[in-house]
């Protein structure tokens, strides 16, 4: 049974009541039992029991899970379907390795800062100019590739290692993350702006790497650990004067704060240092709400209707839902509207949008409709992957809303 032995009791605790059906978007939108949490759990159990040899269809069932985590909060028995799928992915990795595309993209490219930077630059330059010449190729598997933003230069190369303020009240270590570094560099600048406007000195280590979440999600714990160790050592050894490790990406945040503990559970000698690091991790909105924002400095001249999308890793990972909403409503003339199912996955779900584009496109379309129903001008969120997915979905539907990070919305409210 291998790694599945460790989760066998949890597999066996699913009594097939079907309560998770409502939580599972891939089931709701396909009506296929093997795309439901219950179905996936029963398949994993069949593999653990030796009744099913992992085949291609099994891999599809396991790899198409969004890992949104909604099933875990819905199960009356406390069965965490997402964790069982993670175990199954680890099991598959150990049995068969990882499929070539996922391997080259998620594991090798993301794990290496050089390759990643080069990839983004190539795409942003040559790639886009080629794409623009091909009619009808605006969307690749539901992903809005023509409008996919790429930073001209990585954010980390645009800024100094330390950004000082006149009367520093706090010292903040900024974990930028791949997306803000290479794609949405403007959002990274927004984070710095809001922090400095609130008397925070910002420390931005140049040698930071991918948090390891993509590798972890595909069962490659070895690469994930290498990156995790580098991240922990960088922030704790070289930049120990940073009071917190702040990230503006909910997915990175959830990985840094929670999954690192799981990843190093088998290394008791290193674990205390991991714990020390995890306790320092804070997401942007959490931090701003905690230190308090001076509302009188926020300006906004025209009325703005805003809605908020909870990224999976924000609502179920970091369990932070109030803070971003409070921050948005502090901005003058903002009319806040809650959308239906604000806390449900937008369909991005890492590489799912590329691998299982049919179902993820349906999920995004539903989300886009929910956004439209609020009549909002602007959608705020806390995860760069969600931002890109949502904006792509909105553009595809011919809607007008703009998607921004909470940090962008706030940064706009400060006078330069």
């Amino acid at each position: 049974m291998g790694v599945l032995a460790d989760v066998y009791e949890m597999l066996n605790t699913c009594n097939k009541c079907g309560g998770c059906h409502t939580a599972c978007k891939t089931y709701k939108l396909t009506g296929s039992e093997e795309m439901s949490t219950r179905g996936r759990i029963q398949l994993i159990k069949a593999v653990a029991d030796g009744k099913l040899e992992p085949n291609e269809e099994y891999e599809d069932a396991i790899m198409s899970c969004l890992l949104c985590g909604e099933c875990a909060v819905t199960c009356p028995n406390g069965v965490h379907g997402n964790e069982l799928v993670m175990a199954a992915r680890r099991d598959l990795k150990l049995r068969k390795g990882i499929k070539p595309f996922a391997k080259s993209f998620a594991l090798k490219t993301l794990a290496s800062p050089k390759r990643l930077g080069m990839g983004f630059r190539l795409f942003g330059g040559m790639g886009k100019s080629v794409l623009n010449k091909i009619d009808g190729l605006d969307y690749f598997r539901g992903i809005d590739i023509k409008n996919f933003p790429t930073a001209k230069k990585p954010f980390l190369e645009q800024v100094p290692e330390k950004i000082k303020v006149q009367n520093p009240k706090h010292k903040v270590g900024f974990y930028v993350g791949c997306f803000l570094n290479h794609s949405l560099d403007q959002t990274a600048h927004s984070v710095v702006k809001v922090l400095t406007k609130n008397d925070c000195e910002v420390i931005i280590p140049k040698d930071q790497v991918c948090c390891g979440l993509p590798q972890y999600c595909y069962g490659d714990y070895e690469t994930a650990k290498t990156n995790a160790r580098k991240t922990i050592d960088t922030f704790l050894d070289k930049y120990s004067d940073a009071e917190v490790v702040l990230t503006a990406c909910a997915s990175c945040g959830s990985m840094l704060r929670h999954d690192y503990l799981k990843l190093f559970a088998d290394e008791p000698s290193y674990l205390p240092k991991v714990k020390l690091f995890c306790d320092k991790v804070v997401e942007f909105s959490e931090y701003m709400a905690k230190i308090g924002v001076d509302q009188s400095k926020l300006h906004n001249s025209s009325p703005l209707t805003v809605t908020y999308h909870d990224p999976c890793h924000m609502v179920r990972g970091l369990k932070a839902t109030k803070q971003p909403r409070e921050l948005l409503q502090m901005i003058p003339r903002v009319d806040y509207k809650e959308m239906f199912e604000a806390n449900r996955c937008c369909g991005a779900a890492g590489l799912i949008q590329a691998f299982y584009h049919e179902v993820s496109t349906d999920i995004t379309d539903q989300k886009t409709q929910n956004i439209k129903d609020t009549n909002a001008d602007l959608v705020a969120t806390s995860c760069p992957a969600c931002m890109l997915r949502l904006q792509g979905g909105i553009n595809k539907a011919g809607q007008k809303q703009k998607v921004m990070h909470v940090a962008d919305v706030m940064a706009n409210a400060y006078e330069d």
Binding site: T13, N15, C20, G31, S32, A61, N77
Partner: protein
């Protein structure tokens, strides 16, 4: 295995994506909410009545049986594939054709999830009263196949009472419509009521005319707490004897209070022997009087009686109640659920009977009940991997059924007979009545093609 030719024909009928024949797919359509499982030759998911007709004709030609299935949450094995069968899954027939608030009718496809219908109805200030605990997952087709109940059925009745008409594909491939949007029953036999609760052995329902009601203007939710489950059952009998009909009268014992509390943190007292959840609805001006009367009756025995003050509190109470079945694996991994039902006045005796069975057989039983209807769900907790324990559980289940029959009750209130309770059916009905069942089945389905082996053997 299905032949390549049959698979090809099925794909022509419903499309490539809607036919499953691989091992992974078959495995996930082989189980339901029970401990049973089976494996079909294939799974086919039609999206129109015409496709259902074509599938039925093709299966008749090939002499292959059909097992209808909704969400597969049933508690009686009704959707477990039998030998040489194809599962016909209705989860992709999810259209709500019409919501007619003038005539209090909604027309839906069988795969519509009960909860999804409630959401659409609520936008028009209407609702569909039958709301089994599984309503967030289970389909209208499944609900009518099993004739599900739910917490509201004390006052409002079960699924049967809300079915106005059906479109049904018969085993010979012909389509009939029973009833319709008229409130008066149809002339001649009430065919709608023969199909409802027939667990898919007579016909395949492809369209449903359901009765809907305006949402009541006011409701109040109350909790009464007891030291012992027997005490709670006495309040139930007293409320019924006083001629009061609450919307719901639900009972949970100490075990269920604790397992659901682990999940919902609703604040139910973990040391209480039992809790009664009582809800009344109607006009706002009627609420206080009803609450007062019920409070007086309950307080004679209850150690505490309180009225929920906020909508959040009410939601939490209901989340607890609805997750009762799902939560018991926190104690033991397997459960056997019964849905024995007795006349209301015998409810306290039935509770006593359940406690006696638990003691006699040395098994752990959690009790949750739609107490107002006399419908009990004793959940026997065990570990299926332990063979000896499993056998004891089966014996205890039989004892529960016999106990209910002794109290002039029935072996199934709302979960259906399926495979799980088939062996007890002739204890409830005389040989002549059993033969009447068989004759009805044969007259619809002489070749025994639809859901064979469920409810009765021919």
């Amino acid at each position: 295995m299905l032949s390549q030719a049959v698979v090809k024909r099925l794909k022509e009928i419903v499309g490539e994506k809607n036919v499953v024949t691989d091992k992974v797919g078959l495995l996930t359509y082989g189980y339901d909410g029970t401990l049973l499982s089976g494996e079909a030759l294939g799974v086919v998911s039609p999206t129109t009545t015409e496709q259902v007709v074509e599938i039925v004709k093709l299966m008749n030609e090939q002499d292959i049986k059909l097992v209808p299935r909704g969400a597969g949450t049933n508690e009686s094995g009704g959707t477990i594939p039998s030998e040489k069968s194809v599962v016909i899954s209705f989860t992709k027939m999810t259209k709500i054709h019409e919501i007619d608030t003038e005539n209090f009718v909604a027309v839906v496809e069988p795969g519509v999830i009960n909860f999804d219908l409630q959401v659409e109805l609520a936008k028009k200030n209407f609702y569909f009263p039958p709301d089994p605990s599984s309503f967030k997952a289970s389909t209208i087709g499944g609900n009518l196949g099993e004739c599900s109940g739910g917490p509201k059925c004390f006052k409002y009745g079960v699924t049967r009472d809300y079915m106005l008409g059906l479109e049904v594909v018969l085993p010979n491939g012909k389509v009939i419509q029973t009833g319709g949007r008229n409130f008066q029953s149809e002339p001649g036999y009430d065919l709608t009521r023969i199909i409802v609760g027939s667990e898919g052995i007579l016909g395949l329902v492809t369209k449903v005319f359901v009765r809907i009601l305006p949402i009541p203007r006011a409701k109040k939710t109350m909790l009464a707490l007891y030291d012992k489950v027997e005490d709670a059952s006495q309040t139930v009998a007293d409320i019924v004897a006083a001629g009061i009909i609450p919307t719901t009268l639900e009972l949970m014992d100490n075990l269920l209070i604790n397992t659901t509390e682990d999940f919902t943190h609703a604040g139910l007292p973990r040391d209480a022997g039992a809790v009664l959840i009582i809800e009344v609805d109607g006009y706002p001006e009627d609420m206080d009087g009803q609450v007062k009367t019920i409070g007086e009756i309950a307080s004679k025995i209850a150690k505490e009686f309180k009225v929920a003050q906020t909508a959040v509190e009410v939601d939490q109470i209901w989340t607890s109640r609805r997750s009762a079945f799902g939560s018991v694996a926190r104690v033991r991994p397997s459960y056997g659920v019964n849905d024995i039902t007795v006349p209301r006045s015998n409810f306290p005796k039935a509770i006593g009977g359940v406690l006696k069975v638990a003691k006699d057989f040395g098994v752990t039983i959690g009790v949750v009940a739609h107490a107002g209807d006399g419908n009990l769900h004793p959940l026997i907790l065990f570990d299926q991997r332990n063979k000896e324990e499993t056998e004891t559980v089966h014996a205890a289940e039989q004892a529960l059924c016999m106990m209910a029959l002794d109290l002039e009750g029935t072996i199934s209130g709302e979960h259906g007979i399926g495979l799980v309770k088939k062996k007890y059916l002739d204890k409830e009905f005389t040989p002549a009545a059993m033969e009447a069942f068989r004759k009805i089945k044969r007259s619809f389905d002489p070749s025994n093609r639809f859901n064979p082996g469920k409810i009765i053997d021919l």
